[in-house]
């Protein structure tokens, strides 16, 4: 993966030297985004800390999903999408939203889990292995090892280990969502994007996924969009608050929730918004 990054990196900027425990994984700077005529993001700038969980919160329609989907260029599937500015992936400073960077290369480095669990209509094993096959990995024992590791990371191994050949749609909604997390984790992405991963799930399944996200942060950098204030407070290290396509405030989660500097943020997290 690293070689691919070096080859495709068009402009290598010097990464800001930071202490090892505070490294930046990615840096969003002055990011604008348009759906055809409509500008959905206005000059968003924020850092994504390495091996931390960054939460994006804000009222419905403020552009949380739009921002998240810039990170893996899924907008490129639809005509009229336009980016301006940069999301630099460290340490090389590869600009993920640059027109000269192939979106497929971006998606090979950045995994995503969507709001609605959407396993492929294949077996459980094939679902998790799909990302590996796409990367040309064919070695049976290596694929099996990686699938097992990903399923364990996604805290679903115990439930599926003796039915890996069964169709994925036989799983419950919460299990399907964890399967999708495993599918995103298997190729060891540099960034894991989660768009309201628990909004379609019951409290127990939600709790499972929350605790797994907290564990994941040891190995992966996670960016999560959530509507649930409590969830953001529980699992994230940094929080970004957005409103009308703008980033209003970014900071340590504790500071955002206990001592926000902007009134809008305070109103939102105390439920006095709009």
């Amino acid at each position: 993966m690293n070689e691919a990054l070096h080859i495709a990196s068009p402009a290598v900027t010097t990464p800001t030297p930071l202490s090892p425990e505070a490294t930046i994984r990615a840096r969003v700077s002055n990011l604008d985004f348009w759906y055809s005529k409509f500008q959905a993001l206005h000059s968003v700038s924020m850092p994504i800390h390495n091996n931390k969980v960054t939460a994006i919160i804000g009222p419905s329609g403020c552009g949380k999903s739009t921002l998240l989907r810039c990170f893996n260029r899924i907008h490129d599937l639809y005509p009229g999408a336009r980016y301006e500015g940069a999301i630099e992936l460290m340490p090389d400073g590869l600009n993920l939203v640059s027109r000269s960077v192939d979106p497929i290369l971006v998606r090979l480095m950045v995994g995503m889990v969507f709001q609605k669990p959407n396993p492929f209509p294949k077996s459980i094993f094939e679902n998790v292995a799909s990302g590996l096959y796409v990367r040309g990995l064919r070695n049976r024992s290596e694929v099996e090892g990686r699938v097992e590791k990903a399923l364990k990371q996604a805290a679903i191994w115990d439930e599926v280990q003796d039915r890996l050949k069964k169709p994925a749609y036989e799983l419950s909604g919460g299990q399907q969502q964890r399967l999708c997390i495993a599918r995103a984790l298997a190729p060891e992405p540099k960034l894991l994007l989660l768009d309201e991963p628990t909004s379609a799930l019951d409290p127990i399944a939600t709790a499972k996924i929350e605790s797994l996200i907290a564990d994941l942060a040891h190995d992966v950098t996670v960016v999560i969009v959530t509507h649930n204030m409590g969830q953001a407070a529980r699992i994230s290290d940094q929080t970004a608050f957005m409103h009308m396509g703008k980033l209003i405030e970014f900071g340590e989660t504790e500071q955002i929730f206990t001592n926000p500097t902007v009134d809008q943020t305070r109103d939102y997290i105390t439920g006095r918004f709009g």
């Binding site: 005509p79 497929i104 969507f114 492929f120 799909s130 796409v134 990367r135 169709p167």
Partner: protein, 310 residues
Amino acid sequence: MSDIAIRAGDDTRRLVQVKRRQDLIFGVVGILVLFVVMGLLMTLVADLLIDGLGRISPEFLTSFPSRRAAAAGVLSAWVGTTLVMLVTAAIAIPLGVGAGLYLEEYASKNLLSDIIEVNVSNLAGVPSIIYGLLALGFFVYALDMGQTILVGGLVLSLLILPIVIVATREAVRAIPSGLRESAYGIGANRWQVMWSYILPSARPGILTGAIVGLSRAIGETAPIITIGALTYIAFLPPAPVTSTPPWINFEWLNSPFTVMPIQMFNWTSRPQAEFHVNAAATGVLLLCMTLMMNGFAIYLRYRLRRTVRT
């Protein structure tokens, strides 16, 4: 307080009653329409069965046409229909599915693709005789291919190509955007997304379109007559498999042929009543062939549904 609640309850009840009555009226109208349509269809099929069923025998299936009605059979016709349908399927399905997938997944959406889209849909409504004329001018005269099974298959595939294309596009469009997004999300390229995720999920819909197209083609008479297919064929095309290497033989593609609808048409235009019975029997067989094709499609779809579920 309770007064309002009771009144609201009354309103709700009245609303439910109105809805019930609407449901009932719609149901009755629906059943009446269904009976009229089914009744008409049943009468036609029953008429055909009464006339023709008694005439069907092993000899009828294994004899060539003859001037004597009692000795005539449909051997050359059903073999011709089978072979022409094979050619049609082999050409129309890959081309139509390929074009449909390209238009839906690859082609950029602009004015040109809009024009193509409208025209493909319009082509499905062009009278079949026009296709026959096109084939006569192009395949038979310009390319000098003659009145062969290959040309018959070509003209029928042109005829049903729009049906297959439209069905493919609709099947692809019906795939939830979440599946596409997550397939691209794992880093797959277009080819991988299409081959491993889109196509398997779209297969049942594509299959339905292909069978609708082939069912239309199997009964077509006008374009086949237009290209000048013979109505009296007393021999079979060369066998596609041979006993000597290379064991496979494509000579049959260049053989003259007739098909079931032409045989039927030919016999109905004779004055003798015995030939009309033959025509009815041919119609029954043609119906059976169509039903068999549909049955095969239902079976395939069932198999696919069991392995692929979205």
